[in-house]
Symmetry: C2
Subunit: 127 residues, 2 copies
DNA sequence: ATTAAAGTGCTAATAAATTAGCACTTCGGA
DNA sequence: TCCGAAGTGCTAATTTATTAGCACTTTAAT
Protein backbone atom coordinates (compact mmCIF):
# COMPACT_ATOMS: atom_id res chain seq x y z
CA UNK A 1 0.00 0.00 0.00
CA UNK A 2 1.13 3.48 -0.85
CA UNK A 3 2.82 5.18 2.10
CA UNK A 4 1.14 8.38 1.06
CA UNK A 5 -1.94 6.78 2.47
CA UNK A 6 -0.68 6.97 5.97
CA UNK A 7 -0.27 10.69 6.02
CA UNK A 8 -2.71 13.10 7.56
CA UNK A 9 -4.11 15.93 5.50
CA UNK A 10 -1.50 18.46 6.52
CA UNK A 11 1.29 15.95 6.38
CA UNK A 12 0.41 15.14 2.81
CA UNK A 13 0.17 18.78 1.85
CA UNK A 14 3.59 19.34 3.29
CA UNK A 15 5.16 16.32 1.64
CA UNK A 16 3.75 17.52 -1.66
CA UNK A 17 5.47 20.82 -1.18
CA UNK A 18 8.74 19.14 -0.30
CA UNK A 19 8.47 16.98 -3.40
CA UNK A 20 7.49 19.86 -5.63
CA UNK A 21 10.27 22.11 -4.39
CA UNK A 22 12.83 19.46 -3.66
CA UNK A 23 13.55 21.00 -0.30
CA UNK A 24 12.17 23.71 1.95
CA UNK A 25 12.46 25.43 5.31
CA UNK A 26 9.54 25.71 7.70
CA UNK A 27 8.97 29.27 6.52
CA UNK A 28 8.99 28.21 2.87
CA UNK A 29 6.53 25.42 3.54
CA UNK A 30 4.30 27.83 5.40
CA UNK A 31 4.36 30.22 2.46
CA UNK A 32 3.44 27.46 0.05
CA UNK A 33 0.57 26.07 2.08
CA UNK A 34 -3.03 26.77 1.16
CA UNK A 35 -5.01 28.11 4.10
CA UNK A 36 -1.76 28.32 5.99
CA UNK A 37 -1.79 27.28 9.64
CA UNK A 38 0.48 28.80 12.26
CA UNK A 39 4.22 28.69 11.91
CA UNK A 40 4.46 26.48 14.97
CA UNK A 41 2.14 24.00 13.42
CA UNK A 42 4.29 23.69 10.35
CA UNK A 43 7.41 23.16 12.41
CA UNK A 44 5.71 20.51 14.45
CA UNK A 45 4.49 18.72 11.37
CA UNK A 46 7.91 18.75 9.81
CA UNK A 47 9.30 17.22 12.96
CA UNK A 48 6.65 14.53 12.87
CA UNK A 49 7.25 13.78 9.22
CA UNK A 50 10.87 13.31 10.07
CA UNK A 51 10.06 11.00 12.96
CA UNK A 52 7.90 8.94 10.66
CA UNK A 53 10.77 8.66 8.24
CA UNK A 54 9.23 10.62 5.40
CA UNK A 55 11.68 13.49 5.48
CA UNK A 56 15.01 14.44 6.91
CA UNK A 57 16.69 17.75 7.52
CA UNK A 58 20.08 19.32 7.44
CA UNK A 59 21.06 22.42 9.28
CA UNK A 60 21.76 25.50 7.22
CA UNK A 61 22.87 28.34 9.42
CA UNK A 62 20.23 28.73 12.05
CA UNK A 63 17.51 26.97 10.20
CA UNK A 64 16.57 23.50 9.07
CA UNK A 65 16.14 22.58 5.46
CA UNK A 66 13.86 19.61 4.97
CA UNK A 67 14.08 17.13 2.14
CA UNK A 68 11.91 14.14 1.27
CA UNK A 69 13.54 10.90 2.21
CA UNK A 70 12.47 9.05 -0.90
CA UNK A 71 14.31 9.93 -4.08
CA UNK A 72 12.47 11.98 -6.66
CA UNK A 73 12.62 8.99 -9.00
CA UNK A 74 10.95 6.69 -6.55
CA UNK A 75 8.41 9.27 -5.49
CA UNK A 76 7.47 9.90 -9.09
CA UNK A 77 7.22 6.29 -9.88
CA UNK A 78 4.96 5.49 -6.99
CA UNK A 79 2.78 8.55 -7.45
CA UNK A 80 2.19 7.55 -11.06
CA UNK A 81 1.63 3.96 -10.09
CA UNK A 82 -1.02 4.99 -7.61
CA UNK A 83 -2.88 7.12 -10.14
CA UNK A 84 -2.70 4.48 -12.82
CA UNK A 85 -4.02 1.75 -10.61
CA UNK A 86 -6.67 3.85 -8.90
CA UNK A 87 -8.00 5.77 -11.87
CA UNK A 88 -7.02 3.77 -14.93
CA UNK A 89 -7.51 0.16 -13.83
CA UNK A 90 -3.79 -0.25 -14.11
CA UNK A 91 -3.63 0.63 -17.77
CA UNK A 92 -0.54 2.70 -18.44
CA UNK A 93 -1.60 3.14 -22.05
CA UNK A 94 -4.86 4.73 -21.03
CA UNK A 95 -3.09 6.99 -18.59
CA UNK A 96 -0.69 8.13 -21.27
CA UNK A 97 -3.52 8.81 -23.65
CA UNK A 98 -5.27 10.89 -21.01
CA UNK A 99 -2.10 12.84 -20.33
CA UNK A 100 -1.65 13.51 -23.98
CA UNK A 101 -5.16 14.77 -24.27
CA UNK A 102 -5.03 17.14 -21.34
CA UNK A 103 -1.65 18.40 -22.42
CA UNK A 104 -2.53 18.89 -26.02
CA UNK A 105 -1.39 22.35 -26.97
CA UNK A 106 1.07 22.50 -24.13
CA UNK A 107 3.43 20.00 -25.65
CA UNK A 108 6.06 21.40 -27.92
CA UNK A 109 6.85 19.78 -31.22
CA UNK A 110 10.25 18.88 -29.88
CA UNK A 111 8.75 17.06 -26.93
CA UNK A 112 6.34 15.18 -29.11
CA UNK A 113 9.15 14.09 -31.37
CA UNK A 114 11.10 12.91 -28.39
CA UNK A 115 8.14 10.88 -27.20
CA UNK A 116 7.80 9.30 -30.61
CA UNK A 117 11.38 8.16 -30.36
CA UNK A 118 10.87 6.74 -26.90
CA UNK A 119 7.88 4.75 -28.03
CA UNK A 120 9.70 3.49 -31.07
CA UNK A 121 12.45 2.30 -28.79
CA UNK A 122 9.95 0.60 -26.50
CA UNK A 123 8.47 -1.24 -29.46
CA UNK A 124 11.83 -2.54 -30.54
CA UNK A 125 12.66 -3.76 -27.09
CA UNK A 126 9.26 -5.28 -26.66
CA UNK A 127 9.46 -7.73 -29.52
CA UNK B 1 -6.23 23.54 -4.80
CA UNK B 2 -6.92 19.88 -5.29
CA UNK B 3 -9.97 18.77 -3.30
CA UNK B 4 -8.20 15.54 -2.55
CA UNK B 5 -6.16 17.65 -0.21
CA UNK B 6 -9.03 18.24 2.10
CA UNK B 7 -9.66 14.62 2.83
CA UNK B 8 -8.49 12.87 5.93
CA UNK B 9 -6.45 9.71 5.67
CA UNK B 10 -9.37 7.32 5.80
CA UNK B 11 -11.53 9.50 3.65
CA UNK B 12 -8.93 9.47 0.95
CA UNK B 13 -8.45 5.73 1.19
CA UNK B 14 -12.15 5.29 0.77
CA UNK B 15 -12.45 7.69 -2.15
CA UNK B 16 -9.64 5.83 -3.84
CA UNK B 17 -11.58 2.63 -3.50
CA UNK B 18 -14.72 4.23 -4.86
CA UNK B 19 -12.78 5.58 -7.81
CA UNK B 20 -11.00 2.33 -8.45
CA UNK B 21 -14.13 0.24 -8.27
CA UNK B 22 -16.53 2.80 -9.63
CA UNK B 23 -18.97 2.08 -6.84
CA UNK B 24 -19.11 0.12 -3.61
CA UNK B 25 -21.17 -0.75 -0.57
CA UNK B 26 -19.91 -0.22 2.96
CA UNK B 27 -19.05 -3.90 3.17
CA UNK B 28 -17.13 -3.78 -0.11
CA UNK B 29 -15.19 -0.72 1.01
CA UNK B 30 -14.38 -2.43 4.27
CA UNK B 31 -13.07 -5.47 2.42
CA UNK B 32 -10.87 -3.32 0.22
CA UNK B 33 -9.37 -1.27 3.03
CA UNK B 34 -5.87 -1.90 4.28
CA UNK B 35 -5.74 -2.33 8.05
CA UNK B 36 -9.50 -2.31 8.00
CA UNK B 37 -11.29 -0.41 10.77
CA UNK B 38 -14.67 -1.41 12.10
CA UNK B 39 -17.70 -1.64 9.90
CA UNK B 40 -19.30 1.24 11.77
CA UNK B 41 -16.35 3.40 11.02
CA UNK B 42 -16.64 2.79 7.32
CA UNK B 43 -20.30 3.57 7.30
CA UNK B 44 -19.73 6.77 9.18
CA UNK B 45 -17.00 7.83 6.80
CA UNK B 46 -19.15 7.16 3.78
CA UNK B 47 -21.85 9.31 5.31
CA UNK B 48 -19.34 12.08 5.91
CA UNK B 49 -17.96 11.86 2.40
CA UNK B 50 -21.47 12.25 1.14
CA UNK B 51 -22.09 15.27 3.36
CA UNK B 52 -18.94 16.85 2.04
CA UNK B 53 -20.15 16.29 -1.47
CA UNK B 54 -17.50 13.81 -2.54
CA UNK B 55 -19.82 10.89 -2.99
CA UNK B 56 -23.48 10.09 -3.26
CA UNK B 57 -25.42 6.92 -2.80
CA UNK B 58 -28.41 5.14 -4.20
CA UNK B 59 -30.37 2.52 -2.43
CA UNK B 60 -30.14 -1.00 -3.71
CA UNK B 61 -32.42 -3.28 -1.80
CA UNK B 62 -31.54 -2.83 1.82
CA UNK B 63 -28.13 -1.39 1.27
CA UNK B 64 -26.51 1.74 -0.03
CA UNK B 65 -24.25 1.78 -3.01
CA UNK B 66 -21.85 4.70 -3.00
CA UNK B 67 -20.43 6.39 -6.06
CA UNK B 68 -17.93 9.23 -6.41
CA UNK B 69 -19.59 12.48 -7.26
CA UNK B 70 -16.98 13.59 -9.73
CA UNK B 71 -16.99 11.85 -13.08
CA UNK B 72 -14.23 9.37 -13.78
CA UNK B 73 -12.97 11.70 -16.51
CA UNK B 74 -12.63 14.63 -14.18
CA UNK B 75 -11.18 12.56 -11.40
CA UNK B 76 -8.57 11.14 -13.74
CA UNK B 77 -7.73 14.47 -15.14
CA UNK B 78 -7.20 16.09 -11.78
CA UNK B 79 -5.31 13.17 -10.32
CA UNK B 80 -2.90 13.31 -13.23
CA UNK B 81 -2.66 17.07 -13.01
CA UNK B 82 -1.71 16.83 -9.37
CA UNK B 83 1.01 14.30 -9.99
CA UNK B 84 2.40 16.19 -12.93
CA UNK B 85 2.60 19.45 -11.08
CA UNK B 86 3.86 18.00 -7.83
CA UNK B 87 6.38 15.53 -9.14
CA UNK B 88 7.23 16.66 -12.65
CA UNK B 89 7.33 20.44 -12.36
CA UNK B 90 4.31 20.54 -14.57
CA UNK B 91 5.98 18.79 -17.47
CA UNK B 92 3.53 16.43 -19.09
CA UNK B 93 6.25 15.22 -21.42
CA UNK B 94 8.42 14.13 -18.54
CA UNK B 95 5.51 12.40 -16.90
CA UNK B 96 4.73 10.51 -20.07
CA UNK B 97 8.32 9.47 -20.43
CA UNK B 98 8.34 8.20 -16.87
CA UNK B 99 5.16 6.26 -17.46
CA UNK B 100 6.58 4.71 -20.55
CA UNK B 101 9.66 3.66 -18.70
CA UNK B 102 7.89 2.04 -15.80
CA UNK B 103 5.44 0.34 -18.12
CA UNK B 104 8.02 -0.93 -20.52
CA UNK B 105 7.31 -4.58 -21.13
CA UNK B 106 3.73 -4.25 -19.97
CA UNK B 107 2.63 -2.32 -23.01
CA UNK B 108 1.43 -4.35 -25.91
CA UNK B 109 2.53 -3.60 -29.41
CA UNK B 110 -1.00 -2.61 -30.25
CA UNK B 111 -1.10 -0.08 -27.46
CA UNK B 112 2.21 1.39 -28.50
CA UNK B 113 1.01 1.75 -32.05
CA UNK B 114 -2.10 3.46 -30.86
CA UNK B 115 -0.03 5.90 -28.84
CA UNK B 116 2.09 6.65 -31.86
CA UNK B 117 -1.04 7.59 -33.72
CA UNK B 118 -2.26 9.81 -30.94
CA UNK B 119 1.01 11.66 -30.81
CA UNK B 120 1.05 12.08 -34.55
CA UNK B 121 -2.37 13.57 -34.34
CA UNK B 122 -1.29 15.92 -31.57
CA UNK B 123 1.60 17.10 -33.70
CA UNK B 124 -0.65 17.92 -36.59
CA UNK B 125 -3.03 19.86 -34.44
CA UNK B 126 -0.25 21.66 -32.68
CA UNK B 127 1.20 23.36 -35.72
C1' DA C 1 30.77 42.09 22.79
C1' DT C 2 25.74 43.19 22.55
C1' DT C 3 21.42 42.73 20.90
C1' DA C 4 17.33 42.12 18.07
C1' DA C 5 15.53 39.04 14.62
C1' DA C 6 14.74 34.53 13.17
C1' DG C 7 15.02 29.71 14.52
C1' DT C 8 14.34 25.54 17.27
C1' DG C 9 12.74 22.20 21.38
C1' DC C 10 9.48 21.38 24.04
C1' DT C 11 4.78 20.57 26.54
C1' DA C 12 0.32 21.08 26.89
C1' DA C 13 -4.33 22.63 24.95
C1' DT C 14 -7.76 22.33 21.12
C1' DA C 15 -9.88 20.63 17.18
C1' DA C 16 -10.80 16.98 14.03
C1' DA C 17 -10.94 12.31 12.67
C1' DT C 18 -12.06 7.72 13.81
C1' DT C 19 -14.49 4.34 16.14
C1' DA C 20 -18.10 1.78 19.01
C1' DG C 21 -22.70 0.59 20.10
C1' DC C 22 -27.44 0.36 20.26
C1' DA C 23 -32.16 1.07 18.39
C1' DC C 24 -34.69 0.86 14.21
C1' DT C 25 -35.43 -1.00 8.87
C1' DT C 26 -35.32 -3.92 4.98
C1' DC C 27 -35.14 -8.31 2.77
C1' DG C 28 -35.86 -13.05 1.74
C1' DG C 29 -36.79 -17.67 3.05
C1' DA C 30 -39.29 -21.03 6.20
C1' DT D 1 -46.73 -14.10 8.15
C1' DC D 2 -42.64 -14.26 11.08
C1' DC D 3 -37.82 -14.48 11.97
C1' DG D 4 -32.93 -13.86 11.48
C1' DA D 5 -29.40 -11.75 8.83
C1' DA D 6 -27.69 -7.76 6.98
C1' DG D 7 -28.28 -2.79 6.78
C1' DT D 8 -28.87 1.96 8.34
C1' DG D 9 -29.44 6.31 11.69
C1' DC D 10 -27.95 8.06 15.34
C1' DT D 11 -25.15 9.87 19.53
C1' DA D 12 -21.48 9.82 22.18
C1' DA D 13 -16.62 8.18 23.40
C1' DT D 14 -11.89 7.81 22.09
C1' DT D 15 -7.93 8.43 19.57
C1' DT D 16 -5.13 11.38 16.34
C1' DA D 17 -4.00 15.44 14.22
C1' DT D 18 -3.27 20.18 14.61
C1' DT D 19 -2.13 24.21 16.90
C1' DA D 20 -0.34 27.74 20.41
C1' DG D 21 3.11 29.44 23.40
C1' DC D 22 7.10 29.99 25.91
C1' DA D 23 12.05 29.16 26.96
C1' DC D 24 16.40 28.50 24.79
C1' DT D 25 19.85 28.99 20.50
C1' DT D 26 21.87 30.86 16.42
C1' DT D 27 22.95 34.61 13.39
C1' DA D 28 24.46 38.83 11.75
C1' DA D 29 24.85 43.64 12.19
C1' DT D 30 26.24 47.36 15.16
Amino acid sequence: MNPEHNLSRRERQIMDILHAQGQATAAAVLAALPAPPGYSAVRALLRILEEKGHARHRREGARYVYVPRTSPELARRSALQRVVSTFFQGSVAQAMAALLETADTQLSDTELTRLQQLIKKARKEGR
